[in-house]
Symmetry: C2
Subunit: 417 residues, 2 copies
């Protein structure tokens, strides 16, 4: 059983200057993980020959597979190709197949190839071309002493297509890996240290081949169990046994034991119960709706939303009583109750959900400081409300309002189970 080790190298001054978030390395390592290849290090360096060459050499000394993204564009600040030429003592030659692919791509897009684009078909003579079916820069695959060095464009869409279609299948063929199984157990609504206390004994009794990690984020803590071995079916049984032990300890906080996120879970719950959803969101400004509609197939249960940002819209277009708002304010329990019930009726949905609060940074006052938020769930029989006291950060408040609203839907639907 081999331990296949990969390193990821992302290249670009824009990463070092902090002008973009490097999402490529996250995606690549998740894909490698699925096929049992262990990422042992991620490195980012700038558009600088010495740093690129040093990073490639260091990665070669530790890993079996080196994945490189970035620096393949048509402009002069892109150095990856010349650096790899130097590293592998290779020279640039016109790759006729790449040129033909490039020409076809441009024809399809109704554009003509300029010199700069033509040069993208120049490849080092010691590499194999990796076809880029959705962009202009081909990838490069170098082999050396049983190790693979693969260079891809930095544009996420192009890199992903290349990985999925060509590189992942090729890695599987060349590097048979040990079996590594991960199991996520996702919780919402319990702080990490309380969770750890509840799970202390359980954790101590974990078998040696199963490792535990806590992955905390805003409002949620994920537990990740990782089992390593040679027999997939054995590992699956071992992990399932541990997950079964978790439910009596923390079952009420667990919302998923798979990749499913909260918005997809809610979609599934609504569909299974033949229910539909309408949303009236004020302070969350569309964020909750876009979470719901980010799920493919959401039109099966999602009717629509209204975002009545101003009070006159809450009154005239959503039908909240003027007196309710005048007496209690827009950020209040009586108002949120009417919002949830009104949107439910107005859009003909089984369930109405509403948010109203002070997202900030301005707009707070002593009795209702920034971060005061009301959310509600109404299904025609019950109206369940919740008051949140969140932060002073606008983006966090919008995000956490939306996640809390999702969790309120989950809890309200679970009661009937």
């Amino acid at each position: 059983m081999n331990d296949i080790r990969a390193e990821l190298l992302t290249i670009g001054d824009e990463i070092l200057y902090g002008q973009i978030v490097d999402t490529n390395s996250q995606w690549m390592s998740a894909e490698l993980d699925k096929i049992g290849v262990r990422t042992i290090r991620k490195t980012s360096v700038g558009d600088n020959e010495a740093d690129i060459l040093q990073a490639v050499a260091e990665a070669e000394s530790r890993a079996d597979i080196i994945l490189i993204t970035g620096g393949l564009g048509p402009t002069n600040d892109d150095l990856t190709k010349p650096c790899l030429c130097k590293y592998f003592d290779s020279k640039l030659v016109m790759n006729e197949e790449a040129l033909a692919e490039l020409t076809a791509l441009f024809e399809k897009r109704g554009r003509t190839l300029n010199e700069r684009n033509r040069n993208q078909a120049l490849l080092p003579d010691k590499c194999k071309k990796v076809t880029n079916s959705v962009g202009t820069a081909p990838g490069m695959w170098f082999d050396k002493n049983g190790k693979a060095f693969i260079s891809m464009p930095g544009v996420p869409y192009e890199m992903k297509k290349m990985m999925e279609d060509i590189i992942i299948p090729e890695i599987r063929k060349r590097f048979p890996a040990p079996v590594i199984l991960h199991q996520l157990v996702k919780t919402v609504g319990i702080p990490e240290s309380i969770l750890a206390d509840r799970l202390e004994d359980w954790e101590k009794n974990l078998p040696n081949h199963i490792k535990l990690a806590y992955l905390p984020s805003l409002n949620q803590v994920k537990l990740r169990l990782t089992a390593t071995g040679s027999e997939k079916s054995e590992l699956e049984k071992d992990i399932q046994a541990q997950v079964d032990l978790l439910f009596p300890l923390i079952g009420e906080y667990i919302f998923a034991t798979d990749d499913e996120n909260l918005e997809a879970l809610i979609g599934r719950m609504l569909k299974e119960r033949n229910l539909t959803l309408a949303i009236a969101e004020s302070c969350s400004g569309g964020f909750l709706s876009q979470l719901i509609t980010s799920v493919a197939g959401s039109s099966a249960y999602y009717r629509g939303s209204i975002i009545p940002y101003h009070n006159d819209l809450k009154i005239n277009n959503l039908g909240v009583k003027k007196e309710t708002i005048e007496a209690n304010g827009a950020v209040s329990e009586p108002t949120i109750i009417e919002m949830a019930n009104q949107v439910r009726k107005m859009f003909g949905a089984s369930i109405g959900v509403a948010t109203s609060g002070i997202a900030g940074p301005a707009g707070g006052y002593p009795e209702k400081p920034v971060g005061t938020i009301w959310i509600a769930f109404a299904d025609g029989e019950r109206t369940i409300t919740k008051k949140l006291q969140l932060t002073t950060d606008r983006h966090q408040n919008i995000y956490m309002t939306s996640v809390n609203a999702l969790n309120l839907i989950r809890q309200s639907l679970s009661v009937n189970d």
Copy 2:
């Protein structure tokens, strides 16, 4: 003039397994950049002693400042503290000030300190404590041969507060840096290679102390000019001269030369013109509205939205004519025209904007494949429509529909200038 070099080390198996995106390193390097500290490398390693120690040693060999995040939690998989003890030949002692701060934090939250939390106040005797005012794990600052090693929690909110309040001011004091100025020129609607062709001569004539980079993303290409020198005012003049030369070449595609994003720009344009906005979005499902409302102060110009995901809502709640949808379908120019005009009237706004399309992955047919999208802008005098033919990817389609709608607003408002 010193060149101050920083390296960032983010620690956690969850980063290597690809289960979270490392956004900390992006944020930290952007902050360092602002104070003239150059990030030369970013490294991520797992929760593994040997890898952590090796990465710290490598960083020490190259950089003046080493920023470390992650691995400070209360659970057993958190190894940063013991590793740094070993690296600096230090031992853990109870830091009474940290314990007092921790106790106060718990009291404020109405929780009691358990043993696991108490242990978070144990710190290596050779470090200075860095106060964590919003979380349980204090930071650590080690000094060695004029170099600074700073360890922070991995929770972004806690790390950022620590950086802003304590670490950045302290770095500025200890490491006076050369002047580095960045200037962004943001374009929308022109492909990178065409842009590069148009700018070829201009780029060749750039002075030596100004460097150019192309930062492409979906629908947008940013140009970044970086000037290095000793006199800030000189550099500002030099950069401004180059930006002035860009406008005659690509002015129509430039939407910003600062940090302002498209949604903030539109907010400013609307406010300056005393205009208000209402949105009817179907296929973009709330994404466009949440972009608009992500801007602090957006209530000054944003009235509200309706998301009529189903056709009966488009007809009954938004007032699109039934015949229009029956004759042309919901994804059509006649429908999008009515949507934009109706939402404008219904919500009493100066401007109505609408989106309708097939986001996918399902729901397409030969004449209207997945990715067929209509957007419209209506201001009472004009209705401007645009048809987009986007991708087969749901998330990309939602995102690009929203950015195209923002750009349509920008262009439509610019015409009057």
